[in-house]
Amino acid sequence: MSFLFIQFLNGLASASSLFLVASGLSIIFGVSRIVNFAHGSFYMLGAYMAFTLVHKLSGGTIFGFWGGVVLAAAAVAVVGALVEMILLRRIYQAPELLQLLATFGLVLIVQDLVLTIWGPEDLLGPRAPGLRGAIDIFGQSFPQYDFVLIILGPVVLGLLWLLFHRTRWGTLIRAATQDREMVAALGVNQSWLFTSVFTLGAFLAGLGGAVQLPREAVNHVMDLQIITEAFVIVVIGGLGSVLGAFLAAVIIGELNAFGILIFPQLTLVLTFLVMAVILVVRPWGLLGKPEGVVRGGAGAERPIKPLSPTGRNATVALLVALLALPMISGNYGLSVASEVLIYTLFAASLHFMMGTGGMVSFGHAAYFGLGSYGAALTVKYFGVPMLAALVAGPAVAGIAALVFGWFCVRLSGVYLAMLTLAFAQIAYAVVFQWSSFTGGDNGLIGIWPAPWAASPTAFYYLSLLLCGGGIVAVRRITFAPFGYTLRACRDSALRADSIGIDLARHRWYGFTLAGFFAGIAGSLYAFLKGSVFPDTISIATSVDALVMVLLGGVQTLAGPIVGAATYKILHVSISSYTDQWRTALGVIIIVLVVAFPMGIVGFIQNRLLRSGRVEDAA
């Protein structure tokens, strides 16, 4: 009994830190509509800065410790303000997803920065002076410091409430969360409002990281860990709701504390299962409101058109060039080319879901990765030939998409995206933790292609056939009646509903198809690499896919092809020049987003349209 109570307190203590991060994320989203991927980076920076500052200031005094913690949070706030003023301010008019992409660029840059300044080793912070001891509760001891954390959460909640309800600034923020354009039309300078909100959000994240110092080692993968959890909390609580974030943080904190007793291996799965259930019951989170029409967003989308003669000629030329590639390229070049082809199909499948289906996925890696594992596992356990595995992989991915999709298509917008992320993380957790079956962290190795496809040239042609075929099939579906219906659902859910289209069912099929095609790409990838690792299902892979689609442009069919090629080639070439490939990639992503808010292909189309030379090139 007393043990359970201690566990309960543990849950509350970790909830506090989660709440600090999630509330900042939620406030920022409420006002600016930016899903700030870099929020986890702020948290991590807070922890690292606190590590340094506490050492510099402390000498073991109480003032030194807390002074260091607060200074660290303030330093992160300054970083946040600079980020808003230098970067985000330029892209408020860009589509939401590109903003997300730009903040992901920041994640990459901060990762390299942290590695450069603090090195790759985990850092252990000092315990808090005056709070080093433990308190005796029903015969169990509980750290004093954790008590302070338990109190910190509600205190911050109260302070935020006062800030939002008792100051003019807070009133403006609440008004802007509802209709920021109208706030401007009443004479309020929005840029100032946005900067201050972002600064506050960054401060909270920095503080959340800094107070973790005595509890856990500071390391350079904290950012993506916490951002996933913070996303989950914000979504469960309801986007933009601070109280909701608090409730959700307590739920998740407790779930982790008790889940570890029941399913020590599967706490992550438990978290996401709870989220999935809550979202199906309450699609806008516990205290969220249905997403209205967001005022002042980007303009109408240009419809996707079939290939024009110019586009057709370009496609034929590209195909000829691809067929001829083995004559001029060495083995290394061919394997890079195969990889680019695989990623192109992967991107095209996500593009189908996003562009045609209007469903944004943050977790498309699930289907790519399950395709890989599906293929690898059938080879490993049933010894089937490569071709059979290339059928099994996509089937596994398709079935997973069928199951996950059933839940996801009931939601829309950011909530849908978060749920896809949740399912991807469940898949990741299962693969990672079920090591007796999947090899866990060590992955599965020795998944080589059949002898006839073993040479780089043969495998390249196989990739070209399957990926090219896949892309053509995706296009065909886009222009088939099913594709038109799907786009009708995307453009006007209400109208499609009223003319008797079963919205959820069409979106569900679309979701499943997208998963299936990603699975083809994943299966090929397993044979290309000769191995599979949990990485293929990780957030990083999902983001890769998003980056490729967004780089190319969502509203053009050529987009994913151009985007995937650009991204993969950049990736390969940058990593061969510098260790700091993340920084380089991050900078490139940000520059591209700022320069081409419509994606590369969208940009070219706009140029052509404006100069009036071509009706439609893609």
Binding site: R168, T171, L172, R174, A175, T177, Q178, D179, E181, M182, V183, A184, A185, L186, G187, V188, N189, Q190, G299, A300
Partner: protein, 234 residues
């Protein structure tokens, strides 16, 4: 002249909506912009206040060229804007809605306090702390006007202020607008409803398909059957 627009052209994407619109409004007068559904009334107002940025032409407010300024700067010069769909902050209370609109007092413009606004719109006085989401349409219309007045504008643009109001409330609204005029505000309203415009306006413009096709006093418009029948026939 308080506000002067010349050769105002406005665009949504590649579609041109306004064509060489010209209009003026001065202190102490109510000017009506009259036109049918889709004629371009709201677009004209939005272009003036800077919500539609794809626009060309000379826009001079209070002697300042406002054509390149962002919305909040234009509003801070004293140009108040009340949208036709009201856009009340329903998550806030009535009083908080007024707080959002509050700007410092301005020389050359009547200055308002919450108390004075509750006198102007007595209906609001009893619901200071009520959530603005729980108000009738007419109350919301009054709140949205009061909210803009809190910015102490020297000119206020009201987009279809009588739309959807009960006859009794329409009368209150007309009186409130006349009070604003007497306080020394320039008032620019848009209307489809000639009857309401007649009650309060000194001058009128008729807009049709994005072009101004009549410009004169309200009396001239009332006497000109041809114009009325061509542009305003129901």
């Amino acid at each position: 002249m308080k506000l002067e627009a010349h050769n105002l052209n406005a665009f949504y994407g590649r579609a041109q909506i306004l064509f060489d619109v010209g209009l003026k409004a001065d202190t102490g007068e109510v000017v009506a912009l009259i036109g049918r559904n889709g004629a371009g009334k709201s677009t004209t107002f939005k272009s003036l206040v800077g919500l539609v940025t794809a626009r060309t032409g000379q826009l001079v407010f209070n002697g300042t060229d406002i054509s390149g300024l962002p919305v909040h700067d234009i509003v801070r010069l004293g140009l108040g804007y009340v949208p036709e769909d009201r856009r009340i902050f329903t998550d806030l209370t009535v009083e908080e809605n007024l707080d959002v609109g509050t700007q410092p007092a301005r020389a050359g413009a009547p200055s308002w306090t919450k108390e004075r606004l509750f006198e102007l719109f007595p209906n609001l006085a009893g619901m200071r702390n009520r959530g603005a989401g729980r108000m009738s349409g007419g109350e919301q219309q009054m709140l949205t006007i009061a909210r803009s007045l809190m910015g102490n504008p020297s000119l206020i643009m009201l987009d279809e202020p009588s739309e959807g109001l009960a006859p009794k409330i329409v009368e209150d609204m007309a009186n409130a607008i006349l009070t604003m005029k007497d306080q020394g505000l320039a008032v620019l309203i848009s209307e489809q409803n000639l009857h309401f415009a007649k009650m309060i306006s000194d001058r009128a413009y008729i807009i049709e398909k994005g072009r101004i096709c009549f410009d004169g006093t309200m009396a001239e418009l009332s006497n000109n059957d041809e114009v009325r029948n061509t542009y305003l026939a129901v």
